[in-house]
């Protein structure tokens, strides 16, 4: 009986004196917050925007395409030339959409002159994209 009482007294004393031993995690928190601030400062949420284009491989062979599938356009500084006629941006887009309704597999061939600005090239690609053209071919032309 005495043994039992001693045991329980010891057990009680143990629980009374028992301390909670926590791992000090404040340094981990500090470190994590420092890293967090670093990433907030150096990171960027801005998603860069662009127009995607897949170039043909250097050793890819040429393909024959039916003439009615081709839509040629030559951008100039202010207008777009197609079939010898000049088009504004909206007119060209309308023309492409009209042609695309008849031939959904329409291929746009962009005839680029060397002295035309990059802005016009991107604008042409943008018009093609807006009109829903999937296949674009770029043909470099030497300026006259």
């Amino acid at each position: 009986m005495k043994k039992i009482i001693t045991y329980y007294r010891k057990k009680k004393a143990y629980w009374r004196e028992r301390q909670f031993h926590d791992v000090d995690s404040s340094s981990v928190g500090d470190l994590a917050f420092l890293l967090l601030i670093f990433f907030i400062v150096t990171g960027s949420f801005i998603l860069r925007q662009g127009i995607f284009l897949s170039l043909p491989s250097e050793n890819s062979s040429s393909v024959k395409v039916e003439e009615n599938l081709i839509f040629e356009v030559a951008p100039h500084e202010d207008v777009f030339e197609h079939d010898g006629k000049m088009f504004t941006r909206a007119e060209l887009a309308g023309e492409i959409i009209r042609r695309k309704e008849k031939t959904p597999e329409l291929i746009l061939i962009v005839l680029m002159k060397e002295n035309i600005s990059y802005n016009r090239f991107i604008d042409t690609l943008s018009v093609a994209k807006e009109a829903g053209i999937k296949k674009i071919s770029i043909k470099n032309e030497v300026s006259s």
Binding site: S25, S26, F52, Y118, N140
Partner: protein, 136 residues
């Protein structure tokens, strides 16, 4: 039991562990969702176009309005670009982001595209400012 005795028995616990957990979670979120700025090399005025989100993991080529080519932030010639891309053949499947000034003559772009084609870097994205869709 009196309120005083009860209060004495309460132990204060720091919320350090929870704070650290939260900070680490936020850290992982920021690391996953943000991206570091790519080496620009040169400031350019981008053309406007109807764009789509470009992948962040790209090789970056910047071309100034004077035709200076910057690859990974350093100014190089066209032939240097050809050589540099030779050393990056393992990254052929990565997208090459071309950031060029809108006033640049197309010839420079054509030359760069030619080099990229020769080195088999075929996935290109022309960086542009987002423009509202003009055609409805």
């Amino acid at each position: 039991m009196k309120a005083g005795k009860f209060m004495k028995k309460l132990k204060t616990a720091s919320m350090g562990a929870a704070m650290a957990d939260m900070a680490l979670l936020l850290l992982v979120f920021f690391m996953a969702s943000t991206t570091t700025e790519p080496p620009k090399g040169v400031e350019v005025e981008l053309p406007k176009a109807q764009t789509e989100g470009a992948e962040q993991d790209s090789l970056y080529i910047s071309i100034s309005n004077k035709g200076e080519i910057y690859f990974d932030g350093s100014n190089i010639s066209l032939s240097d670009l050809y050589d540099r891309l030779a050393m990056r053949q393992g990254e052929k499947d990565r997208i090459v982001a071309v950031t060029a000034d809108k006033s640049l003559p197309y010839k420079t772009i054509a030359d760069v595209l030619d080099v990229l084609k020769k080195r088999d870097f075929l996935n290109i994205v022309f960086m542009a400012e987002e423009q509202k869709k003009l055609i409805e």
